[in-house]
């Protein structure tokens, strides 16, 4: 990490990169703050930890045409960048990628819910987090499901932080396969219970690097895809259509779930998309920057047995 910071400082001073985007500790220890700097002296403040919540590629759109920006990216976030590159939204030469050894990412709201007290300090100890020097919580329990089923990326980084890549174990989508065995009414009951809490604050949309549309379908009045209001039907319509737009683009980084103040298990839906595309099409979104977008291409031998 120190070596990388030295290098970033040098690059900033020599003007090779315009700025650095990363995380610095904030007043809440369970979530670090996004921080952008063009000052070489600020580079030492950056931190890499489990508590870096959002996906930094989302912020790249704010720095369009500003010059080369360096940013810290986990493997899933590198895949998100690859998707944006293959969609022509961002140029690879405008970005300086700092590869981060990933340990997963903690959902701050879920941690708050588990601890049920004000969080003053957090400390990572093996597979547990020690909160306020008193309560210990398993990391696995406060992580989005997507962190347990993440896929590998064909690495294309400019500089890499040394460190062990200890991503949580790969579970091979067993939870999704178990969920598939339920009956429709059981499934709907589960979604009713969890998604009823949705207040449609659209935090999941704002934090998503793939949601860059100038006008979102939920803001459209004609056609009115989703009516305003908090009925379960409208909430589910919103999430269904949003997930459809995520197909083959979502890299299952889990940022939406970590941003959700109601702890809705959104990554169950995104993991399901990843599972289906991998199982039936052998497609892993954002594997590299040259792969075509899933819905933008077709093969003659695509799966078609569901059509009579």
């Amino acid at each position: 990490m120190e070596k990388v910071k030295e290098e970033l400082k040098r690059l900033l001073q020599e003007g090779e990169i315009k700025g650095v985007l990363g995380f610095v500790p904030s007043s809440s220890p369970q979530k670090n703050r996004v921080f952008y700097t063009e000052n070489p002296d600020d580079v030492s403040r950056f931190t890499v930890s489990l508590f870096n919540t959002p996906n930094l590629t989302t912020y790249l759109f704010r720095f369009k045409d500003k010059g080369k920006i360096a940013l810290f990216l986990r493997p899933c976030e590198q895949r998100a960048l690859n998707v944006l590159i293959s969609e022509g939204k961002i140029k690879r030469e405008d970005v300086f990628v700092i590869g981060v050894p990933c340990q997963g990412a903690v959902d701050p709201f879920r941690l708050e819910e588990q601890v049920d007290a004000e969080i003053n300090s957090v400390e990572v100890k093996d597979d547990k987090i020690l909160v306020n020097n008193a309560i210990s919580v398993y990391i696995k329990e406060v992580m989005p499901y997507s962190c347990r089923v993440c896929e590998d990326v064909e690495e294309d980084v400019d500089i890499k932080i040394d460190g062990e890549d200890k991503r949580p174990s790969h579970e091979e989508y067993s939870k999704i396969e178990d969920f598939d065995k339920k009956t429709p009414s059981e499934k709907w009951a589960f979604f009713k219970e969890t998604f009823e809490r949705c207040t449609r604050c659209y935090a999941c949309r704002e934090v998503c690097p793939m949601c860059y549309c100038e006008q979102c379908f939920v803001d459209s009045y004609d056609p009115l895809w989703v009516e305003p209001g908090l009925s379960l039907q409208d909430i589910m319509s919103y999430h269904l259509i949003k997930m459809y737009h995520m197909a083959g683009r979502c890299t299952n980084c889990g940022a939406c779930e970590r941003a959700c103040p109601e702890n809705i298990p959104l990554s169950l839906l995104t993991s399901m998309l990843a599972h289906r595309l991998k199982r039936d099409f052998g497609y892993i979104s954002g594997k590299n920057g040259t792969q075509k977008v899933f819905l933008g291409e077709y093969h003659y031998e695509d799966k078609g047995d569901f059509i009579k």
Partner: protein, 140 residues
């Protein structure tokens, strides 16, 4: 027709399935009146969001039909549509909406008989779950 009978919204592609429906009509093949047809230029015109919107607004089932693979009037519309429908079908089933409510088919302009059979099949399928409304349906 009983008001309790299911309403099925169907999107038929202009060049194949809609012509297939025409053939079924001119051949005097009877098919259930539950099927309400919207003619679209191509199955690729059908945005899968239509499915969500239809179920949300009161359709009991949705049937989408287009040209067989390789027969598309616009060369590749149905190939793109196939991938989109796959995603939407998986999502709809995953959240617990009955899979019977959603049917896709390829019907060509010469398959009047197949159109009739499909219309009967779709109606019977939706009738199986008709005793309760779609979970996505919101009464006004």
């Amino acid at each position: 027709m009983d008001t309790k009978d299911p309403k099925i919204l169907s999107f038929l592609c202009n060049w194949c399935s809609y012509a297939g429906a025409d053939l079924a009509g001119t051949s005097r093949l009877q098919y259930p009146p539950n099927v309400r047809v919207i003619r679209v230029p191509c199955s690729g015109r059908v945005n899968p969001q239509f499915i969500v919107k239809a179920l949300r607004d009161g359709a009991d089932g949705v049937w989408i039909s287009g040209c067989h693979p390789g027969d598309c009037h616009y060369n590749s519309g149905n190939y793109f549509a196939r991938r989109r429908f796959y995603i939407m079908k998986e999502l709809i089933e995953f959240v617990g909406i009955e899979p019977e409510r959603l049917t896709f088919s390829w019907v060509s302009a010469s398959e009047g008989k197949k159109f009739q059979e499909m219309a009967i099949y779709v109606t019977e399928r939706v009738k199986k779950v008709k005793d309760k409304k779609s979970p996505l349906y919101k009464e006004i």
